[in-house]
């Protein structure tokens, strides 16, 4: 088994306090090998986004620890976390989160500006099939198109780890497949570790490893020996 990209130990996240406290993560022990595509499955509200946020350096755990390679994320200062996100992490957010006042091109540029070895924003947009729409603002794009801009933005920096929170949620099967191809290409050509949340169970067929999540805890981790390419997945 390759060197783990992420290891978590009793990772816990509690939102709020007292009676209204929500236990989003209840002591998650997890190991994600580097260079793999890992799919996270689980019902709504089970804590998938929360986990992504914490190991992506966007949020802090309430308890337990999370390591990226040999570095303890839980002990990093804010500026170290910023550095970590800037240098290693690509994000596709569940709600796209595009800047409304920037064009598609500029939204991608926002990330490539500060990345160490980025692609050309045009190229990244072309990869998701939006070559023609680079100068459009988010308000002029459909939901799926916005989602693809978000994906272009995440892969354009050629990140070490790519977090995708339901990257195909708003896409039809054909576009969805194209987007998954792009993600797999990034994984194959750059060796990026990919962690992908999805509700479409069949997407799991392209993963090296599938993590089943429920109620803030790991249910089951399945290693997929019959990895398919996105084109082969049955929708």
């Amino acid at each position: 088994m390759p060197e783990p990209a992420f290891t978590t130990h009793r990772l816990t996240k509690v939102y709020g306090e007292g009676r209204s406290a929500v236990h989003a993560l209840r002591g998650v022990d997890l190991e994600i090998p580097g260079g793999e595509i890992v799919v996270l499955l689980g019902p709504s509200g089970s804590g998938k986004s929360t986990l992504l946020n914490i190991i992506g350096g966007l949020d802090r755990a309430t308890d337990g620890s999370a390591h990226f390679r040999d570095r303890n994320l839980s002990q990093m200062t804010d500026s170290q976390l910023t550095r970590y996100r800037r240098d290693h992490v690509g994000f596709v957010f569940q709600f796209y989160n595009l800047m409304p006042s920037l064009t598609a091109h500029e939204n991608v540029e926002l990330v490539t500006e500060i990345a160490r070895d980025p692609m050309d924003p045009e190229e990244a947009l072309a990869l998701v099939g939006l070559r023609e729409r680079v100068d459009h603002f988010p308000a002029q794009l459909s939901g799926g198109e916005q989602q693809r801009v978000a994906i272009a933005r995440a892969i354009a920096k050629q990140p070490d780890v790519l977090f995708c929170d339901e990257p195909t949620g708003a896409l039809d099967s054909q576009t969805g497949r194209a987007v998954l191809e792009v993600i797999r290409d990034v994984n194959e050509t750059l060796g990026s570790t990919v962690l992908m949340v999805t509700h479409a169970a069949n997407t799991a067929q392209m993963a090296d490893r599938v993590i089943h999540f429920a109620d803030g805890a790991l249910r089951e981790v399945v290693v997929n020996d019959t990895k398919l390419s996105p084109a082969e997945i049955d929708w």
Binding site: D78, R86, M99, E109, A139
Partner: protein, 787 residues
């Protein structure tokens, strides 16, 4: 250009209405600062340059009759650089078409060449020819007030003789920017003339051959003025010296200086207040604007932008608005200041203008705007930075309405859904609402205080001329006369009542502080010209002692009970010590009162009066004037309606007139504040309102939710603003009060009513503009983009 800079420009463009409103408010604050400090700097600079160029004397030494050789002796005093002796005298001018002769002063010009000191600036015509004793130059402002021009003849009485002169020229003089007839309070171009004519002619008229009766003295730099004054007094004493005095006590200069001081004081009080209000508004708006950008901040942070990078972006954003506003304010301030200085230069009869800006005002304007904007920005950013990106990106949790829902439960039956939405938002986001309320209250406070100031000016005028002075006419005698003269006046047909007054010209001294002016003796319970305090209560004039007005007591640094040295400047010129009985608030001038009998006792001149206040039968007015004019002991007659008009002119076009400029700016700022509040509410609710429309609410209902909020906020701001304005008006009124007149800041319901109208009007207009935008808003794009 980096994508963040793109975002910056687009955000600015998107929020242009709001950015412009804030920029405008800042611009107005800075403009006012630049304009007013520039005005003060320019006017004092121009005045100095004018005095300098026309060699205005530093010391004036009136004397009964001193031989010309004394000039050389005066020139020998240590610290004196030049001396000019001249002949001056009282004159009465017959102005064609006027019932009353006008008091004037005749002043000699050297027979050859220009005067060494107190030169005149010839605006029309020429100087009298050598040897022509019938040619005169007339003070320009007086000539204009009576439509006299070179070529016209002028009849005047000098030293009891009627003579005819030809006007050959008109002149301005730094010595007579303002002219006040003896015994009158208010300068009036029309009521006092100045005649310049050749020395030989005037010497003959006033019996001054080989002599002078006024020495003008210029000092060397750094000379000790007090020492020169005493030396001159000593030298001139044997010739009837009436006491030398410095430029600071010269009537015209004193008035101009007071005007400039008033502008200076107002410019130190009012613009900073306006700027502070603008700054506060900027602060609130920046706070809310950056708050609204929470998600974006979280997002760029998620990508790995550092706090410094994100902070820099937002600082650029707020600085663009602040610096833009401040820069516009500076430019506007320069332009408006130039115009205003031009107006005032003409008004003060300066023959030229030295435009000057106060660089400090630019720096202050910029610094205040930039610091406040940055502080506002940084404060919110600090909160946002404290959030993890995951938290910041989560759209701010919808405010928890559950509690208010319960609290409002009882109201549910009375209120429809939109009204409840308005109420809930107000109760659930108290911080934001408080900001909006305080902002609008600031606008209300500005309006209230400016309108109170306007009312204060009206009140000063009204009270002075209808409550304080209830006479119709004031008669001044050539010298103090027996009180019996009063009966003579009373016998004139048409004169209803006559009340004595004795004005004594004095120098009041307390240690090193002194004030040159008049001590007024009044009957113990005067009825026509009353001594009233600021509350319109008659002053109690004690049987002994002086009652001083507040500004005078302040100038002299003296308190009730202290002894005041009274250096009498007429008659035997005794030096008296009189106790200060009390200090009173008065509205006009800086009077010093005494009971007439007590004053005469102190002077050892029982039963003397120097003038009288009369009430007359208007029908017999011309006859009365004619009779008075023929009385040899009457030096001047002043009609109250003229005095009132002159006073009105002074406070409506002099330094007091800057209140209109301040007022206009206050209203613009008020509008800017309210418009801005409406815009913010609109920006924050675009999406909610679009959702309402989508689920079937009508445009009117959606507008109600938005405008209802604005209306409630405005209504809540009114009482708070009224209270703030109440306190603010004292500061502002104090800034406008001078030695010459005081402006009260009394509660005036009318001003508050007006201010309410101003604020409501601004709210209505803002509401209509925003409603128009709301009606035009594209539902789909409003829902798609969050703002």
């Amino acid at each position: 250009m980096s994508p963040l800079d793109h975002k910056l420009l687009r955000d600015l463009w998107r929020m242009k209405g709001q950015a412009a409103a804030i920029g405008l408010v800042i611009a107005m604050g800075v403009m006012m600062l630049v304009m007013m400090t520039g005005l003060v700097a320019s006017l004092s600079e121009t005045r100095h340059a004018y005095y300098d160029r026309y060699r205005l004397a530093d010391v004036f030494a009136p004397v009964s009759r001193a031989p010309d050789r004394m000039i050389a002796e005066l020139a020998g005093i240590d610290g004196v650089s030049a001396v000019e002796g001249r002949v001056t005298g009282q004159a009465l001018i017959d102005v064609p078409g006027e019932d009353l002769p006008v008091q004037a002063r005749a002043i000699s010009l050297p027979d050859r060449g220009r005067p060494a000191l107190n030169d005149i600036f010839l605006t029309d015509g020429r100087l009298p020819e050598t040897g022509r004793t019938d040619e005169i130059v007339l003070l320009n402002s007086f000539a204009r007030a009576h439509e006299l021009a070179p070529g016209d003849m002028l009849r005047a009485t000098m030293n009891g003789q009627r003579r005819s002169f030809q006007i050959v020229g008109l002149a301005q003089s730094p010595e007579f920017l303002y002219t006040t007839a003896p015994g009158e309070l208010v300068p009036d171009d029309a009521r006092f003339g100045v005649i310049w004519t050749s020395r030989s002619g005037l010497a003959a008229a006033y019996d001054m051959e080989g002599a002078f009766n006024e020495a003008l003295i210029a000092l060397t730099r750094g000379a000790n003025e007090n020492a020169v004054l005493s030396a001159a007094d000593r030298m001139l004493d044997p010739y009837g010296g009436a006491g030398a005095y410095g430029l600071a006590d010269q009537a015209s200069n004193r008035f101009v200086a007071e005007e400039i001081t008033q502008m200076d004081a107002a410019s130190r009080v009012v613009p900073p207040i306006f700027l502070a209000v603008a700054a506060f508004l900027l602060y609130i708006v920046i706070l809310r604007m950056v708050q609204a950008e929470r998600e974006e901040i979280g997002l760029v942070k998620a990508f790995g932008y550092t706090n410094a990078e994100v902070g820099a972006h937002y600082l650029k954003f707020v600085l663009a608005i602040a610096v833009g506003g401040a820069a516009a304010g500076c430019l506007l301030g320069i332009a408006a200041g130039r115009g205003l200085v031009g107006l005032y230069t003409t008004y003060y009869k300066f023959p030229f203008l030295v435009f000057q800006l106060d660089p400090g005002s630019f720096i202050t304007g910029f610094l205040v705007s930039v610091l406040v904007a940055s502080a506002g920005g940084l404060l919110v950013l600090r909160n946002v930075f404290a959030l993890t990106p995951a938290n910041a990106m989560r759209p701010p949790a919808p405010p928890d309405y559950s509690r208010s829902g319960r609290r409002l439960g009882g109201l549910k039956t009375f209120l429809d859904q939109p009204s409840r939405m308005v109420l809930r938002r107000l109760t659930r986001q108290p911080g934001r609402m408080a900001g909006a309320i305080v902002g609008i209250a600031c606008g209300m406070a500005l309006s209230v205080s400016m309108l109170t100031l306007f009312a204060g000016f009206e009140r000063t005028m009204d009270q002075t001329f209808s409550v304080v002075d209830r006479s119709d006419v004031m008669v001044t005698f050539t010298h103090p006369l027996s009180a019996k003269t009063l009966f003579e006046l009373q016998r004139i047909p048409g004169v209803e009542r006559a009340e004595p007054v004795r004005n004594v010209s004095v120098v009041l001294r307390n240690g090193l502080r002194s004030h040159r002016g008049a001590l007024t003796g009044l009957p113990s319970t005067p009825d026509l010209n009353r001594a009233l305090d600021a509350d319109m209560e008659p002053l109690v004039l004690p049987a002994e002692g002086i009652v001083l007005s507040v500004p005078l007591a302040r100038t002299l640094g003296i308190e009730a009970g202290d002894m005041l040295a009274v250096d009498v400047r007429e008659g035997r010129q005794p030096l008296l010590q009189i106790r200060v009985a009390s200090i009173a608030h008065t509205l006009l001038g800086s009077p010093a009162y005494m009971q007439l009998d007590a004053l005469n006792r102190a002077l050892r001149e029982p039963g003397r009066v120097s003038g009288a206040y009369l009430t007359i039968d208007e029908a017999l007015q011309s006859d009365i004037y004619r009779t008075l004019q023929d009385m040899p002991t009457v030096a001047g007659v002043s009609v109250k309606s003229d005095a009132r008009a002159a006073f009105e002119a002074i406070i409506n076009s002099g330094a007091g007139a800057t209140r209109f400029v301040y007022g206009a700016i206050a209203f613009i700022i008020t509008f800017g504040i309210i418009y801005n509040a409406a815009r913010i509410a609109f920006a924050e609710r675009t999406r909610d309102l679009a959702s309402l429309r989508v689920i079937g609410f009508t445009k009117a209902e959606a507008a109600f939710v938005l405008l209802g909020e604005l209306a409630v906020v405005t209504l809540l701001a009114l009482p708070l603003g009224a209270l703030m304005g109440y306190y603010l008006s004292f500061g502002i009124a104090a800034g406008f009060s001078t030695e010459f007149y005081q402006v009260p800041a009394d509660f005036d319901p009318g001003s508050y009513g007006m201010a309410i109208m101003v604020v409501l009007g601004a709210a209505l207009i803002s509401g209509l503009i925003v409603k128009r935008d709301l009606d035009r808003a594209d539902l789909v794009s409003a829902l798609k983009t969050r703002e």
